[in-house]
């Protein structure tokens, strides 16, 4: 096939083009022709198709995402907000922290190992591109039913991919989630978070400015992997009868990425770059158009200089390739030699592929002939915007009317005991150590807390003991019952988890996993969840700094539960004051903070015992969450509490079980006045935590709670080697531990 140059395109307006196969709609293709005043060349069509895909353009979601900016709370902590590769937060002492959560859902279903591995790789490069050293990762994962045969294919592959890539990069994996639900059977959710640290002055942005500055592509060679990944994979519903799309999944090389990290950090240290962007979804199309769009001038690229793995690749394929482990930097001419020298030191291939120009066009050439001539903003930032119709589904009322409070409760102490064991041994509540023991949590030597603790805590300065804490949470069952409240519950839980370890919550990143935006019911869920999250972030004073939207998580007309996953970042001034979850001292008192109501809608109990989903999720009170967080942070800072654990899915008995097993100590519990044992143990009321307090601190702590208006009740003592609920039952730790530990290995080995 002959080269489709700009000149050729101008002269052949009637040539048929495969816009439909590339995922563009008819009106979108017409708009491209209008922007260019001619038909696009093949290379231009490739660029627009990937950049205007749902994955890159957020065309269905951006009218809703706007709220995160409009409702952003006033804060001095935000140094870089939404729109860059990742948001940046001031954590004090001159340090800035950048973090972001992203999805790699569709690739991970098709090819679990590489899908998950490259998900980690992509988010790590986003963090690196901001100028930061990546210091930790987390992975919230969701799979189909635990006992479904395909889960045995997908889960081990995903876990091995997360571990295989992250371990090889030397990034501690400090937390995340593993959740099972039949709604994720054909659409597992693989979300990945990375956090990085830098000094304020090291922040880098993705922009190409300064006429004559060089464009350097460095890292891996460009190959045929991942071509069309964004347009075909992330933006279309899976069709079980379609052809295999395996070649559209990228293949990762973590060793190359490790070199890229160290090489880039050395380049940053010598202040050699004026702008930088990683290559992820949409590859070079994205990097060149975004850099040029955000900068002041234009850009000229000689595409035939790109180092290739496969010499037969066409210019269109090179522009669309999603080969991993590549970065693109804008470098002043006088600094190019030193830049290339550092790349050589790290055995990283680096090539000058173009330069920043005076004009305002992105121009790409192939052996001297022009194949792209576009306004970069029209590709990168002015893609289509859809106001998709949305409507509250007609089944929502029926679902909410199906109150979980009407479900049969345990009739006697024996049944209560059996249900406790069933709960803590259920796949969602069971220990996930089979998964997390495949991740390195120690590397870098700064891990203060890691899973299964409420949040992961890493030290960022060994001299001052400054640290950051991170937690990710989401509950699709709650969000299905009420997407607005469900999103706020996810936020509240992550916020509470950060505070439970003693850190002050500062900022939010979100990964919004939903079904098809073309379904008005799904779009309503999305609209409600984003509204809930934006309102919640405003109320808690924690801005959304960035994140990711993953749509089309559905097979046929079966959408996943709406699943907003929320990451909260916190800061702790002295990591010595962190609060672990383990009950480690016999004789200490166990206090319950917050109010317990009869709230079972969407609860783990209703799922495990009755396989039921209906009613309303627990009520959210964000003012109460703030107060609870303040108490947990004060208690940690002033040395009043020795352990804390957030109450969420599974309720109090789940939290007590985890704290007891972690510390190797039992607990004697007394049902407080005004509550029945069942509600006490299984309710999932929000805004609650348990703490372990030395007897000498009890009065000081309860006085503080009293003075600030936080309900507190003494519910027991750390004692013996069983979890005992007085007057009801006792379960030896060994029995509880066996139930909690055996489930996941039993399902997967």
């Amino acid at each position: 096939m002959s080269l489709d140059t700009v000149k050729h395109a101008a002269g052949t307006p009637e040539s048929a083009q495969p816009w439909k196969e590339l995922g563009l709609k008819e009106d979108e293709y017409a708009r491209i022709r209008e922007i260019l005043g001619r038909r696009p060349t093949g290379a231009e069509l490739a660029m627009y198709s990937v950049m205007w895909s749902e994955h890159c353009s957020y065309k269905s979601s951006k009218v809703h995402l706007k709220q995160f900016g409009e409702k952003a709370p006033q804060t001095d902590a935000l140094l870089v907000g939404i729109g860059e590769n990742a948001g940046v937060v001031d954590v004090g002492q001159g340090y800035a922290v950048t973090f972001k959560i992203e999805s790699h859902n569709h690739p991970s279903y098709i090819e679990p190992y590489q899908g998950a591995a490259t998900g980690v790789g992509g988010i790590v490069r986003d963090i690196l591109a901001m100028g930061a050293r990546p210091v930790a990762v987390m992975d919230p994962l969701r799979f189909g039913a635990a006992d479904h045969p395909d889960t045995k294919r997908v889960l081990p592959g995903v876990v091995a991919g997360v571990g295989g890539y992250g371990n090889c990069l030397g990034l501690p994996n400090i937390g995340g989630e593993v959740v099972f639900d039949p709604c994720y059977q054909g659409n597992p959710l693989v979300n990945a978070l990375c956090v990085g640290v830098m000094k304020h002055e090291d922040i880098h942005l993705a922009q190409a400015s300064g006429t004559g500055n060089k464009v350097i592509l460095y890292g891996a060679r460009t190959g045929g992997d991942g071509i069309g990944g964004v347009s075909v994979l992330a933006s279309e519903t899976f069709d079980s009868t379609g052809p295999s799309r395996r070649p559209a999944v990228q293949v990762g090389d973590p060793f190359q990425e490790k070199l890229l990290i160290e090489c880039t950090l050395e380049i940053f240290r010598e202040q050699l770059v004026a702008g930088i962007q990683d290559l992820g979804g949409a590859g070079l199309s994205c990097a060149t158009s975004e850099l040029a769009s955000a900068g002041s001038g234009g850009m000229r690229v000689e595409l035939d200089t790109v180092p290739l793995r496969d010499a037969t690749l066409s210019p269109e394929e090179i522009l669309m390739s999603e080969s991993q482990e590549r970065m693109c930097a804008i470098v002043e001419p006088g600094k190019v030699d030193r830049f290339l020298e550092i790349c050589e030191k790290w055995d990283v291939i680096a090539t000058v592929i173009g330069e920043v120009t005076e004009g305002s066009r992105l121009e790409i050439f192939w052996h001297g002939e022009q194949i792209v001539d576009v306004p970069p903003r029209s590709v990168a930032h002015e893609g289509p915007t859809y106001h998709r119709p949305y409507a509250r589904p007609d089944w929502q009322d029926t679902l909410q009317a199906d109150d979980a409070g009407r479900l049969a409760r345990p009739a006697n102490a024996e049944e209560l005991r059996a249900q406790v064991l069933a709960l803590v041994g259920s796949p969602n509540q069971a220990s996930k150590s089979w998964v997390t023991d495949q991740y390195d949590r120690f590397v870098q030597g700064n891990t203060v807390l890691a899973q299964p603790e409420d949040s992961g805590v890493v030290r960022i300065d060994a001299d001052t003991n400054l640290g950051v804490a991170l937690a990710t949470d989401g509950n699709g069952r709650y969000a299905k019952l009420d997407p607005y409240t469900g999103a706020q519950l996810a936020l509240a839980e992550a916020y509470r988890n950060v505070a439970a370890t003693g850190a002050k919550p500062l900022a939010v990143s979100d990964c919004l996993n939903f079904g098809s935006p073309e379904d008005p019911a799904v779009m309503w869920q999305f609209a409600e969840a984003t509204r809930g999250l934006a309102d919640g972030c405003l109320a808690l004073g924690t801005p959304v700094t960035g994140g990711n939207v993953s749509l089309y998580n559905q097979t046929g007309d079966q959408a996943i539960h709406p699943t907003p996953v929320v990451a909260v970042l916190g800061v702790i001034d002295d990591v010595n004051r962190r609060t672990p979850m383990a009950f480690s001292e016999q004789g200490q008192l166990i206090l319950l903070l917050g109010d317990t109501r009869e709230e079972f809608g969407g609860s783990a109990w209703s799922q495990v015992v009755h396989d039921h989903l209906g009613g309303l999720p627990p009520a959210v009170d964000l003012e109460r969450e703030k107060l609870l967080a303040e108490i947990l942070i004060s208690g940690s800072r002033d040395g009043m509490i020795d352990a804390a654990h957030d109450l969420s899915d599974g309720g109090l008995i789940q939290a007590v079980t985890e704290s007891c097993l972690r510390g190797g100590n039992g607990a004697r519990l007394v049902v407080p006045d005004g509550l029945d044992a069942f509600t006490f143990l299984f309710s999932e009321s929000a805004g609650r935590a348990i703490v372990a307090v030395p007897r000498s601190e009890e009065l000081r702590f309860t006085d503080m709670c009293g003075a600030r208006g936080l309900p507190v009740s003494r519910i027991g003592v750390i004692d013996g080697d069983a979890v005992e609920v007085q007057g009801e039952f006792a379960i030896p730790l060994a029995e509880l531990g066996a139930a909690h530990e055996a489930t996941i290995p039993g399902l997967l080995v």
Partner: protein
């Protein structure tokens, strides 16, 4: 005097900065060494830290042993300089024939990350003098290729010469023969092990124990009094 301990960085090394920090905490000066340099910068001892040097391509440690820095290390190790190989560093020492045997994929076929109990079998090496023989310690283990293997004659020889330095306790996490977690050369100056002492030197970090610190204090005492 302050002992100077070199820490080698190969492409793909991960625990180099952690190891440098551990050396500083123990009271010595950590000297970064680059794999392409033949110059060991007059260090008194060398640590080969963990990681995935060269991506573990071909075989863990197989490419690193040909790095320029290894020539100098092999020469000085044979002359008595203390050398410690941790995890990937142990694999490199085996590939470089400073230690016998090799590491295979874990029997469970998974990466394993855990707090691992070990018994220190001998204090007669440069890196274990501050432990008591028979002492039990607990330090992090994290690897996928950690199954120590050697032929029967080599294993018998290691046992009879007191060169099995560490043995896994309670649970053998990777199927290592005779529960071997670490060994030394005949002179006791070269030690390799799979678990990570550098991750257990601060009470707050990692497992919350400091059982790994004595590796570094052992060698420092030896160097300072030498």
């Amino acid at each position: 005097m302050t002992a100077r301990i070199g820490v080698v960085t190969f492409p793909g090394t991960l625990d180099d900065r952690d190891t440098q920090r551990a050396i500083s905490i123990a009271g010595a000066e950590a000297v970064p060494l680059w794999h392409r340099d033949k110059d060991l910068k007059q260090v008194d001892a060398v640590v080969l830290p963990g990681g995935f040097s060269y991506g573990d391509y071909l075989r863990a440690g197989a490419i690193s042993r040909f790095s320029p820095v290894m020539g100098a290390i092999v020469e000085q190790a044979n002359g008595g300089m203390p050398v410690l190989g941790i995890c990937n560093g142990f694999q490199v020492l085996c590939e470089a024939h400073l230690l016998p045997g090799a590491m295979l994929r874990n029997t469970g076929l998974h990466f394993v990350c855990r707090d691992q109990k070990l018994r220190v079998e001998t204090s007669a090496t440069a890196w274990t003098a501050d432990y008591a023989a028979g002492e039990e310690i607990s330090i992090p283990l994290k690897n996928i290729d950690g199954r120590y293997t050697a032929d029967e004659r080599t294993l018998d020889e290691l046992e009879s010469e007191g060169r099995v330095v560490f043995r896994y306790q309670e649970l053998n996490p990777n199927g290592s023969l005779r529960d071997i977690a670490g060994i030394s050369n005949a002179a006791g100056n070269v030690v390799g092990l799979m678990p990570h002492p550098e991750h257990a030197v601060e009470p707050l970090i990692g497992t919350g124990r400091t059982d790994g610190l004595a590796f570094f204090t052992s060698v420092i005492k030896k160097l300072v009094t030498a």
